[in-house]
Symmetry: C2
Subunit: 161 residues, 2 copies
């Protein structure tokens, strides 16, 4: 059981490598996917939420346990994207992902957020992610056949806030 968890909005430079290590620890994400999150993190550090990317981290006094990256869809009125929600392999199944999602919703609602969208893969290795979304109230709204690769579809989940 992890105690003394803090959920913080924002990100500082020293946390970027810890986020990357955390993603590697899960064994789920490819190198290029991890490069994408680094890019979004640096955008956020340079421009703040004007970058379009919000971050919330979950930390103990000594460790980064998880994080979420999300942001408003620039062409919509009230639709937000949940780009990343990841928890360190060593502290999974302790409710941290659910608490991160609650923190995300709490930040989005006062900004006029109506819906939160999450996209994930149809591959077996992403079954825990799909299961998490379904248990958290997201509905599977669309499927893009072979989007990520041949035989690897994109599933689009949405959550009404």
């Amino acid at each position: 059981m992890v105690i003394d968890l803090q959920f913080r909005s924002g990100l500082c430079f020293s946390e970027v490598n810890r986020m990357k290590s955390l993603l590697f620890s899960t064994g789920v994400f490819s190198r290029s996917e991890i490069d994408v999150v680094e890019e979004l993190a640096l955008e956020h550090i340079n421009k703040g939420i004007a970058s379009g990317y919000h971050f919330i981290t979950c930390q103990t006094p000594t460790q980064l346990c998880g994080f979420s990256c999300f942001g408003p869809d620039a062409c919509s009125n009230g639709s937000w994207h949940l780009y990343w929600l990841a928890v360190d392999r060593n502290v999974q199944h302790e409710g941290i992902a659910g608490s991160l999602l609650q923190a995300v919703k709490k930040e989005i609602l006062p900004c006029g957020g109506r819906s939160l969208y999450a996209e994930t893969s149809s591959k077996v290795s992403y079954a825990p992610a799909r299961s998490f979304y379904e248990k958290s109230g997201f509905g599977s709204e669309a499927l893009l056949k072979d989007f990520y690769d041949v035989g690897d579809d994109k599933v689009i989940y949405s959550l009404r806030l």
Copy 2:
């Protein structure tokens, strides 16, 4: 009939304001949507295709007639997004959009592009865009209810290359 059309890959700084005027001329796009294309254009000018955004313009010796902005999906193997395809209001219905789409496909195929995705609104004012995609071989693959706003769905089209 517009003659002496040139299709060019890339973009220079002086073309950004011409692109914005062209988008205003169509009467379809909102201010914030036009701001997004400016942002992508400046990214492209600063970083080239490393920005993730490709541009093709269609020009006469004196006028910008249309442009397209597109790029690979960073998390996929072979899926590309058609972010924008716009033609000046004064030269619409002359086949320029179709020629731009051909130029986009020609640039994507040697890069290993398998599919091209286009997203648009379900609103009546976007009927010409939807009709163009359908006539050009795109299929409507998904619909995200109320995505852009309440009563304004996102339609996702895909074209297999």
